[in-house]
Symmetry: C2
Subunit: 143 residues, 2 copies
Amino acid sequence: MMTVSVGDFLKSHDIKPSYQRVKIYEFLKNSKEHPTVEVIYSALNPEIPTLSKTTVYNTLKVFIDKGIAMAITIDEREVRFDAEIRMHGHFKCYKCHQVYDFEMADQTADVEALDGFQIMERQVFYYGLCDHCNQKLEEVEKQ
Amino acid sequence: MMTVSVGDFLKSHDIKPSYQRVKIYEFLKNSKEHPTVEVIYSALNPEIPTLSKTTVYNTLKVFIDKGIAMAITIDEREVRFDAEIRMHGHFKCYKCHQVYDFEMADQTADVEALDGFQIMERQVFYYGLCDHCNQKLEEVEKQ
DNA sequence: TTCTCAATTTGTAATGATTACAAATTGATA
DNA sequence: TATCAATTTGTAATCATTACAAATTGAGAA
């Protein structure tokens, strides 16, 4: 729930709120699916027929540089993006390939081995079977 | 320190120990740098002039399928590999691009949000400045 | 030893995400 | 309205990875 417009939000992070940037940020913020460049481009193309995929790449790079989005390399193949900046983990299902968010305590301070290191970003990826796919598998095994 | 030969180790994991596979596993096991396919290929090519990069890809896929190696997607660009299977984290320095291992408690059980999920793999990536680069930066700032 | 056959390796070509780059467009300010 | 820098766009290049088919290898049979 944002109390300021997307334009003002971008401005407050030193990003000039062009039409494309506002639309891309809105899409990313409202999306729960951690979309790829391809997904963002395909979703906005009908509404912005002149949109270029390069613009999507450029814009996401700006968002990341300014600290309002994150790149998620949970896929080996293509990068996903997330407008949720607060610390949380990502779970990817091997079967349905969906990426789930999960709440997670920040245990950075516990890591003694990194004394003297300046930790600026954290990514926690778990992989396996989501509850849905896991349950279907168990049902099959019962038979 | 392995008490069995690499060949026997591979056999015990259902992998036929060809010359290439043994050499690639030895290199990966002895490497602390989480090498990419390119690094592995370049390192072994002098010793195995007929080696093909495709073989390196194929072999690493076999190792991962059989559970004796892991893919590390800490780089957006290319995949790195690790023969260390026990749970540990990876830290990548933004400046020198080196990837460090660090010991880490497994807090999987703490994650309530993943009830019903079957977690099969974990990756923890931290990014920032390593102690070496961080220290150099502080020295510059003092001047 | 020689033969056979499946597994493995190899080289080349294709794929596809990402980046480079230069031209076109936009929009704020004078 | 004119100017100019920032932004957007389209195309071409880059490069890690994969697909695929031919060549090679190696273990067991004859």
